[in-house]
């Protein structure tokens, strides 16, 4: 299978490029930008870092723009010195939508592709900005060499700011047809928005009480490319919150992703959903690699290690993470005092999970080493395993609602207002608070913005994931037979749903 290609940048970079490429005299212009690669399981993303604006002598503007070799050479040498690749951008004044390549555009980029790869060791990336509607198009000159050099067209270009704005390559990712099943949804935000949301690659990490609800609602909204990642199995203690799971899932040691699959397929309104269900941990290299293939991630996990990994990806790989959680306070007699739930979009320009006090970095290392599951360690540390972790299904729906509301604001920007920032709801007083935790001056996560494959590596062997996968895989003959029957019933139900 050939790898797909994508480009991501912050809104800050988009504005910096626009300042060069969008001219008042409506002429074309050019600009070089450095990029770092982010290599996922099936997709490579070029993450734009810093612009190398042209000097007057670097190009001739005559309606179109002709770039001179010295500028490309200077940009390529700077990219090499910074361990980056080079991107060459030009504008199409007043044009709209994803731009096909004209003969002269192709010729210009191809003529520099070999030189740039020779100097930087990375393929040249070409981009076009249609200034009429600020749509980007992109390609990577990674096929062949010499006179046979050719490009892989990007499936999309993502700009991450107050809103996630995605430019789509209609040839590679055609706009999906909407159906009467989505009539009410489309009437809420329009065809264009539905077409955008339906094509995004969305990952839900954690199919627990919140994640399962998020999965079902995303599927119902018409999303076509949804991935659910969870290594855990359904246990009896989950049944008071895991909507869609039943005693039979406990008996058959079904993984949570099995329930998620059932729920997603039953809820989906997309014509040909491309759902993927992974029993990996996002902390494992394979899970991390899969996560990098996505445009947006929902973090529905509560352990410090996976949250630290997702927190890092939001900055290093420019994949926005919608995160949230609930804390329930009880007194010593077990009576509820209050419950608070929070939600936030983690992305450059907003505080990371540690800065907004939603991740205790001190717990990441012990979690990674398995100390938080080690009874001897827990006893020695004086931790009471029966405290904390309180949750009830009637409130986890509020958490998922809060995450989904963040998703809608970040994606649709109702009334022109995008990401609202971190919010916190207090149940006892029913008070909604906009949190303004600052980005700490020495935050260690923020400097990793757009580091891509040079990101600090938090991944590793996750023994708890291996253990749970083992439980789910090694089952007795009777359970295997019951699973077979369960799958047949499910296949028939899916067939009925699709008729």
């Amino acid at each position: 299978m050939s790898r797909s290609f994508s480009v991501a940048m912050t809104e800050r970079t988009h504005r910096a490029l626009g300042a060069v490429l969008v001219r008042n005299d409506l002429q074309e212009d050019v600009c070089l930008v450095l990029y770092r690669a982010s290599t996922g399981a099936t997709r490579t993303t070029a993450l734009l870092t810093s612009a190398v604006p042209p000097a007057d002598a670097d190009r001739a503007v005559h309606g179109n723009a002709s770039v001179f070799g010295g500028y490309i050479l200077r940009g390529a040498e700077r990219a090499r010195d910074d361990g980056c690749g080079l991107m060459f951008a030009h504008s199409h004044p007043e044009a709209a939508d994803w731009q096909p390549m004209s003969g002269p555009d192709r010729e210009a980029e191809a003529s520099y592709a070999n030189l740039v790869r020779e100097i930087t060791g990375l393929p040249l990336v070409g981009m076009t900005l249609a200034t009429g509607d600020e749509t980007w198009s992109a390609r990577c000159w990674d096929v062949g060499a010499g006179s046979g050099v050719d490009c892989t067209h990007a499936e999309n270009v993502r700009v991450i700011g107050e809103q996630l704005c995605v430019s789509w390559n209609e040839d590679l990712c055609p706009s999906p047809m909407t159906s009467t099943k989505q009539e009410r949804t489309v009437s809420a935000w329009g065809d264009k928005c539905q077409s955008d949301l339906a094509r995004r690659r969305v990952l839900v990490v954690g199919a627990g009480s919140v994640g399962m609800d998020v999965v079902a609602r995303l599927a119902a909204s018409g999303i076509r490319r949804l991935t659910v990642m969870d290594f855990d199995i359904v246990e009896e203690k989950n049944l008071d919150r895991l909507i869609g799971a039943s005693q039979r899932d406990v008996r058959l040691f079904w993984p949570k992703i099995h329930v998620a699959c059932r729920l997603a397929l039953a809820s989906s309104t997309a014509e040909r959903p491309q759902f993927e269900f992974s029993n990996r941990s996002v902390c494992e290299p394979e899970g991390l690699s899969l996560a990098l293939d996505h445009d947006l991630i929902f973090s529905c996990v509560d352990r410090p290690w996976p949250r630290a990994v997702l927190n890092s990806l939001a900055f290093s790989d420019l994949i926005p993470v919608i995160d949230g959680g609930i804390a329930i306070d009880t007194n010593r007699r077990g009576r509820m005092l209050n419950a608070t739930w929070r939600s936030h979009v983690v992305r450059p320009g907003r505080p990371c999970l540690a800065c907004n006090r939603q991740l205790d970095l001190a717990l990441v290392t012990p979690d990674r080493q398995g100390d938080l599951d080690n009874p001897n360690y827990i006893a020695g540390a004086g931790i009471n395993p029966d405290t904390g972790g309180q949750n009830v299904s009637v409130l986890s729906a509020s958490v998922s609602a809060s995450l989904l509301a963040q998703y809608v604001s970040f994606s649709v920007a109702p009334g022109g207002i995008g990401d609202p920032g971190p919010i916190q709801y207090s149940l006892s007083s029913h008070f909604l608070e906009h949190r303004d935790d600052p980005i700490r001056p020495h935050c260690p996560v923020e400097p990793t913005e757009a580091a891509g494959d040079a990101r600090p590596d938090l991944s590793g062997v996750d023994p708890s994931a291996e253990e749970k996968r083992q439980i789910a895989t090694v089952v007795d003959r009777r359970t295997r037979a019951l699973r077979w029957a369960d799958n047949r019933v499910q296949a028939f139900t899916n067939w009925l749903d699709r008729r």
């Binding site: 001190a362 012990p366 990674r368 100390d371 020695g380 540390a381 004086g382 260690p444």
Partner: protein, 115 residues
């Protein structure tokens, strides 16, 4: 970008703690400013594998010679013979650089040493 181990060693060196790698530990000399051992240098270490998250996440276990005692501790055998590792949570990064916060954490831990 330098790797996490190099970054940690570089940061500890910047604090004048003379870091070196011994028996799978990054060992440093720290002079406690408070507590029973205030003013005299103590050797302590953290596991190289725990430094792999630096500076995104701090190490957890502090390795010390077995004769270094605390009133209360959660300790286990260290990878370095004759040493113990003590469970100590670093209380976040605060507003200072990671290295400074880590040094403050070490000082707080060593301030609890008795005898």
């Amino acid at each position: 970008m330098e790797g996490p181990l190099q970054a940690f060693v570089h940061d500890m060196d910047g604090l004048g703690l003379c870091p070196r790698v011994e028996a799978g530990l990054v060992v440093c000399d720290v002079v406690p400013v408070v507590g029973d051992r205030a003013g005299s240098s103590l050797l302590l270490g953290v596991a190289v594998e725990e430094v792999s998250n630096w500076p995104l996440a701090p190490p957890h276990w502090i390795h010390l010679p077995a004769d270094v005692k605390f009133r209360a501790t959660n300790s286990e055998a260290s990878s370095k013979p004759g040493w113990l590792r003590h469970s100590r949570n670093c209380a976040g990064w605060g507003d200072a650089p990671a290295a400074v916060c880590w040094h403050a954490h070490l000082q707080a831990v060593l301030g609890e040493v008795v005898g």
